[in-house]
Every structure is written in structure tokens, then in C-alpha cells.
């Protein structure tokens, strides 16, 4: 089981990870975007860090919804509504829980993904974060339903996210700012898919190692 503290630790670590990768994500957003993805994610998660103390004693669902709402109102761009929706839907999906089972994680991330797709209307292979989140959620579900340990399941999810992220490189973008480039979007890794990979990687590193 993943405790509320572990969820809080994940979010805090995620803030550090996005802070460290601010420049990297922004560089990825330069050739096929507008050079702000890392800056936006960092600004949003720093604000999340500020907000966390006020909701720490609430349930996990409320905490995640607060994260989502904070991201919506501080990130802006495409990342804000998408990651905002991701966390709000995640929070709504698990509601008032105080700890999460592996099955809860599957439910939660599936709901998050559904929210992203509903908001952004991207399909697989459009060269967006959906290309990292989708395989991650699938790998997680498969591993959990085949009885893998939480650690193993999260490790597989992170690996699938990474593969999905890398698979965006040869893709021609159909959604988001990169789509304006047409053919010239090919050959570049999608920044949003990369931040999504970092999200699953951090989940594995925070929750998987301990379990």
C-alpha cells in the first residue's frame, strides 16, 4: 500500500525533479515549441509545494485535486490544463482514500489519462504526453493484474513511459504547438511526453524502491 505520506513525498520529489529538469524540458520545447515547458512545470510545482502544507492532513483525493487546481491556475499553456486535469481526475478517481493499493493506482492513472485525452483530444501517435502516459498506464494495469509486486509494476510503467517518450522522436506532431511545424516536427522528442515520463519515473523511485 502507498501511504498518504508516500503520495506527498511523490509530489514533493516531483517538484524537485521538474526544478532540476527545468532547462532540459525547456530545451526540448525549443525546436518544436516555444521554449517554456520546463519553466511552466517548475512554476506550477513550486506553487504546489507552497500549497501542500495547507492540505497535508486531508485525504489523498483532496490533496491530488489541490495539486490539479494549483497547476491549472499557475502553469498556463497546454501543460496547465492537461496536467491540472490529470491530477484533478486522479484525485476524483480515488476520492477520500488515506492509502492506495496497486489497483487504486491503476484506477487513478487511468482516470488521469482519460482526463488528459478528453481535455486535449489527442490520439496515440499525435506526439504528445498521451504517447507516454498511455503505455505507462497499460503496463501498470497488466503488471498489477498479473500479480507483479508494486515495485515491479511501477518499474514497468516507468519503462513503458520512457519507451513511449522515445517513440515520439520520429513522430509527426498532430496536436499542440509542434503540429504547426508539420514535417519539421519529426526527429525531436516531445517535451510533454518527457515530463510525463519523469512523473512515472518519480513514482517508481518514490514508491517502488520502498515497497
Amino acid at each position: 500500500m502507498i501511504s498518504k505520506d508516500a503520495v506527498l513525498a511523490w509530489i514533493r520529489t516531483l517538484a524537485d525533479v521538474y526544478h532540476e529538469n527545468r532547462q532540459y524540458l525547456t530545451e526540448l520545447d525549443s525546436p518544436i515549441g516555444d521554449a517554456d515547458h520546463g519553466i511552466n512545470m517548475d512554476r506550477g510545482f513550486q506553487k504546489v509545494l507552497e500549497k501542500l502544507p495547507g492540505v497535508e492532513d486531508k485525504d489523498i483525493g483532496s490533496i491530488l485535486k489541490t495539486v490539479g487546481m494549483t497547476l491549472v491556475s499557475t502553469v498556463g499553456g497546454a501543460g496547465g490544463p492537461l496536467y491540472g486535469t490529470f491530477f484533478m481526475r486522479a484525485g476524483m478517481a480515488i476520492d477520500a482514500k488515506e492509502e492506495l493499493s496497486a489497483e487504486d493506482l491503476v484506477t487513478m492513472f487511468q482516470a488521469a489519462l482519460d482526463g488528459v485525452i478528453q481535455r486535449g483530444k489527442a490520439e496515440l501517435n499525435d506526439k504528445t504526453m498521451v504517447d507516454a502516459i498511455t503505455p505507462a498506464v497499460e503496463a501498470l494495469r497488466e503488471a498489477v493484474s498479473s500479480g507483479a509486486s508494486l515495485s515491479e509494476a511501477l518499474s514497468k510503467a516507468a519503462a513503458a513511459a520512457e519507451e513511449g517518450m522515445k517513440a515520439t522522436i520520429p513522430m509527426l506532431a498532430k496536436k499542440g504547438r509542434a503540429s504547426y511545424l508539420g514535417e519539421r516536427s519529426i526527429g525531436h522528442q516531445d517535451p510533454g511526453a518527457t515530463s510525463s515520463y519523469l512523473l512515472f519515473k518519480t513514482a517508481y523511485e518514490t514508491w517502488g524502491q520502498a515497497n
Partner: protein
Amino acid sequence: MKKLINKPEDVVKEELEGIAKAHPDIVKVFFNPNYIVRADAPVQGKVGIVSGGGSGHEPMHGGFVGMGMLDAACPGEVFTSPTPDQMLEATKAVNGGAGVLHIVKNYTGDIMNFEMAAEMAQAEGIEVESVVIDDDVAVQDSLYTAGRRGVGTTVLAEKICGAAAEKGYDLKKVADLCRRVNANGRSMGMALTSCTVPMKGEPTFELAEDEMEIGIGIHGEPGRERMKIKPASEVVKLLAEPVIEDLPFKAGDEVLAFVNSMGGTPLIELYIVYNELAKICEARGLKIVRNLIGPYITSLEMAGVSITLLKMDDEMKELWDAPVKTPGLRWGV
């Protein structure tokens, strides 16, 4: 990075403070969330018009708030769409009971954030219509992609719809007019140099001393094609022809010609560009009946220009000429 700024993270805040101090007779500026409204908002019984987008395109949008144009603008971080809470507050602040029009440039972020704001405003009982501007012919249009970017036509739509709202058009009529302006406007831009996002601190792209980028966006997005620099006459042809052929504009059409600086290109060059554009329009039989020349929708300090043509009808001409009093555009009052 060479800019007249203090800390990169304070750029938007301090810019807004400057605007607040400079134009208290025209606008009120609110912080956290950030938005700019007409000093006399809400105007009772008038359709409110709200626009917004990333900062770095000044005077758009904040500089177009005032009588005869926008009721409110929501400035995001530099090149980053603003957030729904800004838009919601702005929408509430300008709602004079006749509903509010959101003029949204077609960027995924802007679309999604405005969509969330519209949902929230509607939940609070405010009638909201949204019109998306997507006039950039440099981008291939398609149902399966994000479509075209919104660029120069936005400025023209804001002026024309602002005048219509001032005249008492109802929400549906203002929104329909806005769609008509969008349907009749086409733009394309180019860059001689990159811009530098303050928080990034380095140019978004690199162009050699003899290179230019054609079909650039207003956020330093790469364009259609990179090529050797050419004389203004050829550059203008590269921009104007796709614009003209896209609508298509036809001999006899009356047009507004808008020559826009991307921020770093001075007026002396804009007039040379206008001169070339006027020649092309004349050769094609297009009649330039109005024009706008200057830095109105910029991309920070990027050197370059964009060209917008808008096919005008009598109603649009009349609304274009109507009085406007904003920090960035003013006449008749």
C-alpha cells in the same frame, strides 16, 4: 540575454505595474490573478469582450483594452497562455449583463484554458461565446491537427468587434462578426532574428547572419522554411502570395493591409515593406482601403514582420473607423 528587465520571473508583474501607472485613465490592472480591464468596466448592457494570451506580444492584448476595443485582457507568462482563473475573473469583471465574448487565438493552451474558464463562467450564470482566430497561412490546416495559429487578424478582430459591442450589437451578432473577420483575414510572418524568452535567457533558435525564417509564429516557433536573406521585395512576395492565394483575395476586393513589426524591426523598414505590399496588391487588383503599420502583435524583440490582409465589407470599414481609446490604438477620441 540583453533586456531592460529586472529579474526574469518578475517581467510580467512589473510590466503590468508599469501599465497600471501609465494609463489609469484607460485601464485598471488586477494582480493574482493578473488581468486588465477598462477603467469603466463593467459597461452595463454592453457585450463584454475578453481576450488574452501569453505576454511578450505587446501591445496585444493589454494595450488594446479601452473604449471601442477590449473590455479585458488576461496576460499569461511570457509566451504562455494565461490560466482559467484569470479569464474567469476578467469575464466576471466586464460582464454588463449582455454576455461576454472570448476572443481566443488558436493555440492548444489558449483553447483549453479559455474553455475551462468559459465553463466556469457559464456555471456562474454568465453567457459566454468563444471565437477562435486561426489566420496563419504558414501552417497547414487540417481537421486532424491543432490547425492554424491565430496571429495578426486577432488585432483587427478585437478592434472591429470592440466597435460593434460599443455600438450595441448583441452577443450573438458580435460573435458572428468576429467569425466573419476571422474568415476573411489571413496572415504570414517571418523572422530575421530569434527572440529570447527571459526565463530561458537564450535565443529560441539560431539564425546565421545571412539567414531568415519564413512562416514564423509569434512565439519563436520555427517557420515553414529557412533560407538566405533576400531583398524586401522578395520577402514580401513570399509572405503576401500565400496570404492572397489562401482566401483567395480577388481583383476588386477591398482590403485592410496590416504590416506588423515582430518587435525589433523599426518603422523605417515597415514602410519599405508596406511599399512592396502595396505594389503587389495593386498588381493583383486588390484595393487597400485601410491600413495599419507598426508593432502591434510582437514576439518580444524579434526582428521580422508579418503581413495580414483582411477582406473588408462596408460594415467592417465603418467599425474600423469608429472611435477607439486604448493605450495601443487610438483615434476619433
